[in-house]
């Protein structure tokens, strides 16, 4: 047996294996976030002098712009998550239950392909498609739908399209794996007992897929909330996103205290949503994460 080599080497081995994990979790996750929290609770009172205060958070609530952008980001992220779920569910269902063998595997692989390509490239595609001199406005003119090319970028609906597009994979995969494990005979039995499509969906399919739905929604919401690229390129200047505010404070204005407070608020919102998602579906964090 293994433990023949004694407890001392065993201890040494434990610490050797523990060291990289601790350096990672303490040095790159825990301490930086504690530092961020400390940073957000201080105020510059003079050159090189700082005092603890709630000034950064007060600014956030007092300045309507920041508050509006925060709420806007949260609401659009929620809408994007809901739309992603509505689009992804039928696709996952089709792959898991309506097709089989090669067709199913092929469809699944095809759904994954776009996500192997960088988000930058995908966003470039949407820009070329939607801008005023782009492909879709041109098509609309030649079809006679509009008289002159319409600017389709820089609208809330455009951000939604971009966000949903970027998020689809993270919804389809967990939904597929939870639907795949649903025993077909359960559905057949439900129909035999007189259930119709809607009741079967509501009482059999959705409860079974709940872990997958939760996992997908949590990941998608978090990713859209923290998105920078899609929101800032498709949204343009007048449709602000909260991560852009963080960037402005941190990098452009070099106001780290304010930026840290904003970052912490975003982290709080994101964690709160994860917690609510887990609560509503009665899932454990570890189970959900290992699914996605």
């Amino acid at each position: 047996m293994v433990e023949a080599s004694g407890t001392l080497t065993r201890r040494l081995l434990l610490w050797l294996l523990l060291a990289p994990a601790l350096v990672w979790l303490l040095g790159l996750i825990l301490l930086p976030h504690l530092d961020l929290a400390l940073l957000s609770f201080r105020e510059r009172t003079g050159p090189g002098e700082y005092a603890y205060s709630l000034a950064q958070y007060r600014t956030f609530f007092a300045e309507p712009l920041y508050w509006d952008v925060f709420v806007r980001t949260a609401v659009i992220s929620l809408i994007a998550t809901a739309i992603t779920l509505l689009i992804a569910f039928p696709i996952a269902w089709t792959i898991a239950k309506l097709t089989q063998g090669r067709v199913s595997a092929l469809l699944f692989a095809v759904c994954l392909i776009p996500f192997w390509v960088s988000e930058t490239v995908r966003t470039l595609g949407w820009m070329i498609l939607l801008r005023e001199t782009g492909v879709l406005p041109g098509v609309l003119v030649s079809l006679g739908v509009t008289d002159a090319p319409v600017e389709m970028l820089y609208r809330d609906a455009t951000i939604l399209v971009g966000l949903v597009y970027t998020s689809l994979l993270f919804m389809v995969v967990p939904l597929y794996s939870s639907l795949e494990s649903l025993d077909d005979s359960l559905i057949e039995a439900a129909y035999d007992l007189g259930g119709n499509g809607w009741t079967v969906l509501r009482t059999i399919v959705i409860p079974h897929a709940a872990p997958g739905i939760t996992a997908g929604c949590i990941v998608v919401f978090m990713l859209t909330l923290g998105n920078y690229l899609t929101a800032s390129l498709l949204g343009g200047k007048n449709s602000l996103w909260f991560t852009e505010q963080i960037y402005t404070q941190f990098i452009t204005r070099f106001n780290w205290e304010q930026g840290a407070a904003f970052g912490f608020l975003l982290l709080l919102l994101s964690s709160l949503m994860v917690w609510i998602g887990l609560r509503l579906s009665g899932q454990k964090f570890a189970d959900v994460m290992s699914r996605s």
């Binding site: 434990l14 776009p114 595609g125 070329i128 129909y191 982290l267 994101s270």
Partner: protein, 286 residues
Amino acid sequence: MIPSLPRPLWLRVATVVFVAAFLVFLFLPLVTVAAFAFNDAAYPAPPWQGFTLDWFTGDESKGRTGLFKDQELMGSILTSLLVAAWVTLLSVVVGTTNAFLMERMRFRGQGLLSLMMLIPLVIPGVILGISILAFASRVADLLGDVFGWEAEFLRPGLPLVVLGQVSYLIAISTLTISARLKRFDRTLEEAAYNLGASRPAVLATITLPYLRPAMIGSAAIVFLMSFENFNTTLMLVGADSPLTVMMYGRMRDGATPVLNAVSVFLMVASAAIALLLMRGGAQGRR
């Protein structure tokens, strides 16, 4: 397929239409990007002006800077490759030690630690970036004040980008490699010990070869995610921009189709990695 499901004709037609529309939605942006890389026009916009390879090979003589002559872009690709190589190395090594730590060791606080290892996955990338930026510069200030060291690598720049990306990519490599180690049949190791093999020999000839598919798989995924990372990188970048940050800057200013050319290059590269990975995966599953 569930044969006994009552599926009326309209539903079957609707399904096919929906899936087809979904696929168009998925591929439309990619096809568009690729197509305009070959359009003979100064900007990536319709109408179609004819086929050209200028945006790949063009130089001063044609008045267009193609991808291969664009020093800035080529440099940023190299930067991204360098960052991704370091990130992959660190993530796979730490992911492997983490897998052994969580699957083979028993110690107090293990449950808490395994939960902590998942947390980086639910922190938005921008926040990982700013927290590491702020903490690293605090440490650098401290080193400067106390020891008089110039800890240049803790200021915005490539080493910090590597640390930022590694902070959440280790979580992914840990999950992948642990999952495979969990399925390992330990009687194989015991048999080797009974036959007189030493601990390092068993590790090198039995356990690590078994883990290899998971290590290669997570290396490919981590490499790709590092190469494509934008959120965390943007916050930590210094003078040398990786490709995604460079592309972002140019996209804001209205870029020439040379960006489409880079994109085509990226698509081909990603497809190659994906194929490699699928082959490796098929072999790994016996």
